[in-house]
């Protein structure tokens, strides 16, 4: 069974400028991704970058990401319910 990592995008606004969760994770489970395609002659606005749990098999449920997030935007759950 895989852990479920939920990011509240309304709270996590510009993860590209913060990145605390990405760097605190001992196994680098979290990655950024971009929810807008690249455009000619324009950089993507940093607000289009979002955090996502990717390498879920490597998550040890240490909850360091939950603790480090200044916006309280991350939830990690495992098992039934929760």
């Amino acid at each position: 069974m895989l852990p479920r990592i939920t990011i509240d995008d309304a709270k996590c606004k510009v993860p590209l400028d913060c990145g605390k969760c990405l760097r605190v994770c001992p196994t680098q489970v979290l990655n950024l991704y971009c929810n807008a395609p690249p455009q000619k002659f324009r950089e993507i606005d940093p607000s289009h970058y979002r955090v996502r749990g990717v390498h879920l098999l490597a998550c040890s449920l240490c909850m360091e990401c939950v603790k480090v997030c200044p916006e309280g935007a991350i939830q990690v759950a495992f098992g039934e319910g929760g």
């Binding site: 196994t27 324009r42 990717v54 390498h55």
Partner: protein
């Protein structure tokens, strides 16, 4: 036998074949129009988060058929679009001869895995005619690019190698070679996807490291440099250990060995490893 050399080497290693650096500047646009979106992003050749999650879910429910079929799909995409191979620093320095123009740019992997600011993350080398389009696609060349004289490129690559980055040469639309990455585990997507999930987005190099335990002094400098989980330290004998089946032949361990205990051997000369890429 390295298939990339067979198909694109013209009798040489594929990254020493000048034709593979000679991508055309212009091409007839396809009916479907110019490449857009993810197709032109610097990471388009790697499986994206959705694809990795699909693979992880297959592994988690023990569906090995689905896992195998996803692996095959990702590998054939890599061979078509963006395939890499580990190079030693000697091979890297020789390959610089074929590159023009050359520029330093942001590592897209560590941008999304570590949110490193562009100014602390200039470890990638791009080259060839594709670079003339950098102003058109600022997102692919985030933070801008810095054109380098070949001598400066060599100096930078030697420094990155010294710091402990393994160099991987990538095609951008095989067989055209367009990028030389300086990689690590786990920050580099290609290494992580290969070691954690077996996705062959890049291949092992043409060499394999071998250690002579009689010459090894047990200083322990080499093992932590391995980015491929191929090395450890054997406390019972006080010497370093290299697993040749896991070795990618990058030579990072060789370059710090002061006693000359580690040497590189040609992969193709070792029957059991000749087809392990």
């Amino acid at each position: 036998m390295c298939d990339m050399c067979v198909d694109h080497g013209d009798g040489m290693q594929w990254h020493f074949n000048a034709a593979n650096y000679a991508r055309r500047l212009y091409k007839i646009r396809k009916e479907s129009g110019e490449a857009t979106g993810a197709e032109i992003s610097g990471l388009a050749g790697f499986p994206q988060a959705d694809e990795i999650l699909e693979l992880i879910e297959a592994l988690d429910r023990g569906d090995m058929d689905a896992h195998e079929s996803l692996l095959r799909e990702y590998e054939s995409k890599a061979r078509r679009e963006m395939l890499g191979q580990t190079l030693t620093i000697d091979e890297v320095l020789r390959a610089v001869e074929f590159m023009y123009p050359i520029a330093r740019m942001t590592c897209m992997c560590r941008k999304i895995t570590e949110a490193l600011p562009d100014e602390e993350n200039q470890t990638c080398i791009g080259f060839g005619p594709g670079l003339y389009k950098w102003e058109r696609w600022p997102e692919t060349y985030h933070g801008g690019i810095e054109f380098l004289h070949p001598d400066d490129a060599r100096e930078l690559l030697i420094e990155l190698n010294k710091q402990g980055f393994a160099q991987i040469m990538f095609t951008m639309g095989t067989p055209y070679i367009g990028g030389l990455c300086s990689c690590q585990y786990p920050g580099c997507l290609a290494i992580r996807e290969r070691l954690d999930y077996g996705i062959k987005g890049f291949w092992k190099g043409h060499d394999v490291a071998r250690i002579d335990p009689n010459l090894c002094t047990g200083c322990g400098l080499c093992a932590p440099r391995c980015q491929f989980k191929a090395m450890s330290f054997d406390p019972s004998r006080g010497v370093a250990f290299i697993d040749p089946f896991r070795c990618f032949g990058c030579g990072l361990c060789v370059s710090v060995c002061e006693s000359g205990a580690i040497t590189l051997e040609r992969r193709e000369a070792i029957p059991t490893l000749a087809n392990v890429w």
